[in-house]
């Protein structure tokens, strides 16, 4: 099943001439460059990096066998070690002299074990008796010793991302001394001891360089120790022990990865996952140290997924350097626990589409998940979403308050692929899901409500298109009473688009009119809309009373009201509205007349006729009203 291989080699490997008697191959971890040195460099050195730009080819004089060769950062200076006492340098900066210059290690009788570039012009020599930190001056073709430290060294490792060198000291080699480098300074970090499964007697070097690796996982530096199975100790299988190396403070044992097997292993870090390759079974295991294991002791991890081999690949004979990649789609089927799967996916780099496909899968496919699972998945997504929104928010606040206060300049939060927002969910998952004919509408509504609940739980403002989706689904199935109840409890938050949508539903569901008006009222910015709605319903007096109650009477256009009143054909009504505006004009401008812009349709002639006809009714009504009013006022 090719679908099950969750690890694969990258498509474009770095290709180089394979090692032979005339061709030496070196790999520089810091720059990820492969050096193919033919006949000591005389017939050419070919440097291949991860991309074509970083590839270089040049010649240099054959001055003996090359032991190590590395470019400084940015391919500025090339360092070549040919003897155990010294390192040679060649400038690769244009306009600088190209002749080689040499630096011998300062300590007498010391052997240079290797060197590491810290920077474009800073280099560290590691000798068996200590380390020496130099600055290179390519123009002067000389080096200046910045700092050195004497210490017995068995072997060393370098982590380029954090610029930390780890030295193995003592006879057994299990006391590790890290040094951190930063802009011309070297600082000694606290040393720590690796617990050996068996203490050899007499003491001899027991911690091999091969069993230790440094890596940055989730931005933190770890030292990984591959602890082999030993018959004497009570460990049935090998495990990887992770020591967390903080910038400050003591290093401590933080994670144990259970390999559940024995044999030869190799370690890789891919996308913050620890990949352990087992030679004899030809399979690989992956571990995510941030994935909590509920049923085990703290920080003991089992493999996330069952062991699988790397996706088969026909390997040509020539020299190749591959990058290892994690393929996310196969993991979806290998990890049954959807909550755990989400936790795993949300931490991966290219996770967005996979996560969205998982969402679709649990909603639609044959593997339809139950609502509690759906809820868990939504909650996990929205947790990440919320964290991002919060970071964004505090960044904006910090920016607005000005840089003066923000002592540590805040970085704009990076939006990773794991941030799945409402529009992602809407476009990729929910909109197509609600279209599905073979899914019961009950389930569709339940899922939508679950998503809205989850958003609310994380206090994320729900976008109106989600509400529209809910309304659309409810209306499609004639579930108006349900809709009514949702609106009644303000589950569907107020907004103008929603109010307009409700208005449009009035013909099929008359109560939508009231719901819509209520919503407009609550928005308090939609007074004009309310007036329009009322006028369209010929509720002219209602509109007039409303606009007066909100204090907008003075600025409102009289024409709109008069037009609406005339359309009703009710002359009393027209008269009332007309008088109301006359009184307003009187109050505002001292005269009852309308603006000259007003069409003279409200001319008095029309009124007199209207009045004469209405006079009998008017007087009657008026008298009734007057009498009742007097009656009420009398004690």
């Amino acid at each position: 099943m090719s679908e099950e291989h969750y690890l694969e080699l990258c498509e474009n490997p770095v290709q180089f001439e394979h090692a032979s008697s005339v061709n030496n191959v070196f790999f520089d971890e810091a720059n990820k460059q492969v050096f193919a040195v033919r006949s000591g460099g005389a017939t050419g050195v070919v440097v291949k990096g991860p991309d074509d730009k970083s590839s270089v080819a040049f010649r240099m004089d054959d001055k003996g066998e090359v032991k190590c060769i590395k470019f400084s950062i940015g391919n500025k200076i090339l360092a070549v070690q040919r003897t155990s006492k010294s390192v040679d340098f060649i400038n690769f900066i244009p306009d600088y002299p190209h002749t080689e210059f040499t630096q011998e290690c300062k300590t007498k009788n010391a052997n240079v074990l290797g060197f590491c570039w810290i920077n474009w012009n800073e280099i560290v020599f590691i000798t068996d008796q200590g380390i020496e930190f130099y600055q290179v001056f390519p123009d002067r073709r000389s080096l200046k010793l910045l700092k050195s430290q004497n210490i017995n060294v068995n072997w060393y490792q370098y982590c380029p991302e954090t610029a930390v060198i780890l030295l193995s000291t003592t006879v057994q080699g299990n006391v590790l001394q890290p040094f951190a480098f930063k802009s011309g300074t070297m600082s000694k970090m606290s040393k720590f001891e690796i617990e050996l499964p068996v203490v050899p007697k007499p003491a001899k070097l027991s911690l091999s360089e091969r069993d230790i690796a440094m890596a940055t996982i989730y931005g933190q530096l770890y030292v990984m120790y591959l602890k082999h199975h030993s018959r004497t100790a009570n460990s049935p299988s090998a495990e990887v022990v992770l020591y967390h190396l903080p910038r400050e403070g003591a290093c401590k044992k933080s994670h144990v990865l259970k390999l559940n097997t024995t044999g030869k292993f190799a370690l890789n870090i891919v996308d913050n996952l620890v990949v352990v390759h087992h030679q004899s079974s030809q399979t690989s295991l992956i571990f995510d140290i941030n994935l909590k294991e509920p049923d085990s002791a703290v920080n003991t991890h089992q493999p996330v997924l069952p062991a699988r081999s790397i996706h088969p690949y026909r390997i040509p004979l020539s020299g190749y350097l591959w990058y290892l990649q994690v393929k996310l789609p196969p993991t979806v089927n290998l990890l049954q626990d959807k909550g755990k799967l989400m936790d795993f996916l949300l931490r991966r780099r290219d996770c967005k589409m996979v996560i969205l496909s998982v969402c679709s899968q649990i909603l639609e496919g044959g593997e339809k998940g139950s609502l509690p699972i759906v809820a868990t998945v939504f909650d996990k997504l929205n947790q990440v979403y919320k964290d991002y929104l919060e970071a964004e928010q505090s960044y904006t606040v910090a920016m607005e308050s000005g840089p003066s206060r923000g002592s540590a300049a805040q970085k704009r939060p990076v939006r990773t692929q794991a941030v799945i927002d409402q529009s992602d969910m809407y476009t990729h998952v929910l909109s197509s899901f609600t279209e599905k004919k073979d899914i019961s509408h009950k389930f569709i509504i339940a899922v939508l409500m679950e998503y809205i609940r989850s958003l609310n739980q994380f206090q994320i403002t729900v976008q109106h298109y989600l509400y529209e989706l809910v309304i659309k689904t409810l209306v499609q199935h004639n579930l108006f009473y349900m809709l009514h109840q949702f609106l009644q409890y303000h589950v569907l938050s107020d907004s103008k688009p929603l109010a307009c949508l409700l208005l449009s539903l009035e013909s099929t569901y008359p109560p939508a009119h009231q719901l819509s008006l209520d919503m407009l009222k609550r928005l308090s910015t939609a007074n004009d809309e309310i007036v329009e709605v009322l006028l369209s319903k010929q509720q002219v007096l209602g509109a007039l009373r409303f606009i007066r109650s909100v204090g907008g009477h003075d600025n409102v256009s009289a024409r709109k009201f008069l037009d609406a009143a005339r359309q009703t054909g009710d002359q009393m009504l027209f008269y009332t509205v007309f008088r109301s505006f006359q009184q307003r004009n009187q109050r505002l401008r001292g005269s009852p007349s309308f603006n000259p812009g007003m069409k003279p349709y409200c001319c008095s002639q029309m009124f007199t006729s209207a009045l004469s006809r209405a006079s009998t009714t008017l007087s009657h009504n008026f008298i009734v009203w007057l009498i009742s009013f007097i009656l009420y006022l009398s004690p």
Binding site: S370, L371, P372, A375, K442, F443, I445, A446, M449, E450, I452, R453, N456, Q457, Y481, M482, H484, Q485, Q488, Y489, H490, V491, P511, H513, Q514, L515, L517, D518, L520, K521, R522, I530, Q539, G542, R545, F546, S549, F629, Y632, L633, P635
Partner: protein, 683 residues
């Protein structure tokens, strides 16, 4: 005189004279002089009751101090020294008061003080009396007192037997086992001093308001005279008239009278039909009673005859009492709604008449009528019917969005995992939160739940956990869930898994459903399942295991959220107004007039006259479609305001003496702005 009938007047005077000087009071001497030492234990008990002014069952220090005044209003108060000595002599258990310590936690005296009742005016006390006196008998019986606490907060516990007894014995002077009018005769009616006012409160509570308005008049509330259902097509020929009658209440009426009454109704309906064929008569007003006609289905007529309320005035000089009928006091809309409700309730449990006819003909129909209405009519309390019956609304529980969504989530999950469930409704504290049923079905189901089912089952919950009233379910301590319908105890091997069946509307006519009502604390969930499915023990256990814990959790969540909301909204000031709100759109009703509606009683805190005005305004509103506003000044100091805006109606009762129309209008505007600011309500 307080001790009249117990002690000799002369003895009292002599005894009082002997201790006129300060610190000269010796209780033994005094008792001897007064003649109390020679009395029977029963008399002593009576004397004790007189001294124990607040009827606490104890004589406290402050009561003792005014001890002498019980014998003569003008007597002096005891000095502190005297009181202490006296108290010491009587206080056997050293708690600072004389009496027997009650083991119960509920001390009504303390309770009154705490809730501020002891400083109320007599008027308010009268109102309280009215509330407590559920059946309006003019007395507070033991059974009513038991639910005393619930009158204050629905959901409070009931008093235990012992507490009730203490309470009643404190107020029940005549030992007839109830508190009421007679009690006042012994009570000292003249109010003296601040101390007395406070103690009087408890007494005033026992005064029947009707007694206060005059002993002579007797008032009768509207009552059900008869209720019958007939179908004229069943016995069209002469001599077969009896066949028309499908149900007649009361059943002991003579056959010929039944036929006559039915015939009369038929005639009236036929007669009025000639004037308006589409809308024949709805009611017939006569001096003594009123008849309501309702044709729910073709040719089926339901008729209810209500006797008008009346006042019986005792005749002067031995003449027979005269009866005055108040035929204008009852409203067509209210009782018309009651008749319609009768039909809806029948239909909820039995389906339509037509359906029964199809199933089993007239015979089955009469059987069903007999079975249903005989019981149902008992629960009709016509004297308490008011505007709310016209609305037949649903009270919704106010809830924040998040908790509401949690409930949604709960309902969806239950419906998903128990796919048999077709509809779900969720209630809290007798108020609706969610209904999967359509509005009209929910309306009648809600009525059934809140007025019949819930009150019947409230007792075990109100009783304490360890109380024997709570059905003990072994090993069920994880949650508080229980079935209100169906099995009372799942563990019982004999348990029957039968649930009531209800009929609700569906796309094609009607569907029959099992009604499972499951409750945990104050939260109740109704699950409705197609009646064709037989419900098994397995299913019930599954439901219990799934719903019980979740519902318990939700109930406490809601409760917590509710108290938070109430706290944030600030301490509610005692409002100057009372109102009823109803929205025809979603049937939402809200009333601050009704304190609690139960199967047997509807407690209103306003005078029936005002309720009548509300009903009248409602009738006016029903006549026209437009928005309206009516302001009425009632005979008393009350103003009644009715407002109608679109589909909403609001009735406000303001008690503001000397307010004028403008002020009342302003007040109502303010009310709308505070209580109804989130809806579109024109003012």
């Amino acid at each position: 005189m307080a001790f009249a009938g117990i002690l000799n007047e002369a003895d009292i005077t002599a005894a009082l004279a002997a201790c006129q000087a300060a610190d000269s009071f010796k209780h033994k001497d005094f008792f001897a002089k007064v003649g109390l030492t020679a009395k029977s234990p029963d008399d002593i008990k009576k004397a004790f009751a007189v001294i124990d002014q607040d009827k606490s069952g104890f004589i406290e220090e402050d009561e003792l101090k005014l001890f002498l005044q019980n014998f003569s209003a003008s007597a002096r108060a005891l000095t502190d020294g005297e009181t202490k000595v006296f108290l010491k002599a009587g206080d056997s258990d050293g708690d600072g008061k004389i009496g027997v310590d009650a083991p119960e936690s509920f001390c009504y005296k303390k309770f009154f003080q705490l809730c501020g009742l002891s400083s109320k005016t007599p008027k308010e006390i009268k109102d309280v009396f009215q509330i407590l006196d559920e059946d309006n008998s003019g007395y507070i019986e033991e059974s009513e007192l038991k639910y005393f606490l619930q009158r204050f907060v629905p959901g409070a516990r009931t008093l235990t037997e012992a507490e009730t007894k203490t309470f009643i014995s404190a107020a029940d002077d005549d030992s007839d086992g109830r508190i009421g009018a007679e009690g006042t005769r012994h009570g000292n009616p003249t109010v003296l001093g601040a101390k007395e006012v406070q103690t009087q409160v408890t007494l005033m509570l026992m005064i029947s308001p009707r007694m206060a308005s005059g002993m002579q008049e007797k008032q009768y509330t509207p009552t059900l005279l008869s209720f019958f259902i007939y179908n004229p097509t069943f016995g069209p020929r002469e001599g077969e008239e009896e066949k028309k009658i499908l149900f007649y209440h009361p059943s002991d009426v003579e056959k010929n009278e039944k036929i006559r009454n039915v015939g009369l109704c038929e005639a009236i309906v036929q007669f009025t039909r000639t004037f308006c064929p589409t809308q024949p008569a709805k009611s017939l007003h006569t001096q003594k009673n009123r008849q309501f006609f309702f044709e729910p289905e073709d040719n089926f007529w339901i008729v209810m005859v209500v006797r008008n309320p009346m006042i019986e005035k005792p005749g002067k000089d031995g003449k027979p009492p005269t009866i005055e009928y108040q035929e204008e006091e009852i409203l067509d809309t209210v009782y018309g709604a009651v008749v319609r409700q009768c039909y809806s309730m029948y239909k909820l449990f039995n389906g339509t008449f037509g359906r029964t006819m199809e199933a089993g003909g007239v015979e089955l129909l009469t059987q069903k009528f007999e079975k249903f209405f005989c019981r149902y009519l008992q629960t009709l309390h016509l004297q308490f019917c008011d505007l709310l019956d016209v609305f037949g609304g649903i009270s919704f529980f106010p809830l924040d969005k998040m908790t509401y969504l949690k409930i949604q989530s709960f309902v969806n999950r239950v419906e998903e995992s128990l796919s048999l469930i077709k509809y779900t409704a969720f209630l809290y504290n007798d108020q609706l939160i969610w209904s999967g049923l359509e509005q009209d079905d929910m309306r009648i189901l809600y009525k059934y739940l809140t007025t019949s089912l819930f009150p019947r089952h409230s007792e075990p919950e109100l009783a304490g956990r360890d109380s024997p009233m709570r059905p003990e379910v072994a090993g069920n301590l994880l949650h508080y869930g229980r079935f209100l319908t169906g099995p009372t105890n799942l563990k019982d091997p004999e348990a029957k898994f039968r649930f009531p069946k209800i009929f609700v509307s569906a796309e094609d006519g009607y569907e029959e459903l099992h009604l499972i009502v499951y409750k945990a604390m104050s939260a109740a969930a109704c699950f409705m399942i197609n009646a064709s499915v037989e419900l098994t023990r397995d299913f019930c256990e599954q439901l219990d295991a799934l719903v019980g814990p979740q519902l318990t959790l939700l109930a406490s969540d809601i409760c917590e959220q509710f108290t938070i909301n109430r706290r944030t909204s600030g301490p509610e000031k005692e409002p100057q107004f009372k109102f009823i709100y109803f929205n025809h759109m979603n049937l939402a009703e809200k009333s601050t007039i009704h304190m609690r509606k139960t199967a047997s009683v509807c407690l209103t805190s306003v005078h029936p006259d005002l309720m009548k005005i509300l009903g009248d305004i409602n009738c006016d509103f029903a006549r026209v479609d437009e928005d309206e506003e009516i302001i009425v000044k009632a005979m008393t100091d009350y103003w009644v305001v009715g407002k109608k805006s679109d589909q909403r109606e609001l009735y406000v009762i303001l008690n503001q003496k000397n307010a004028n129309l403008i002020e009342v209008n302003e007040e109502v505007k303010r009310l709308c702005a505070t209580q109804f600011n989130n809806i579109f309500f024109l003012d």
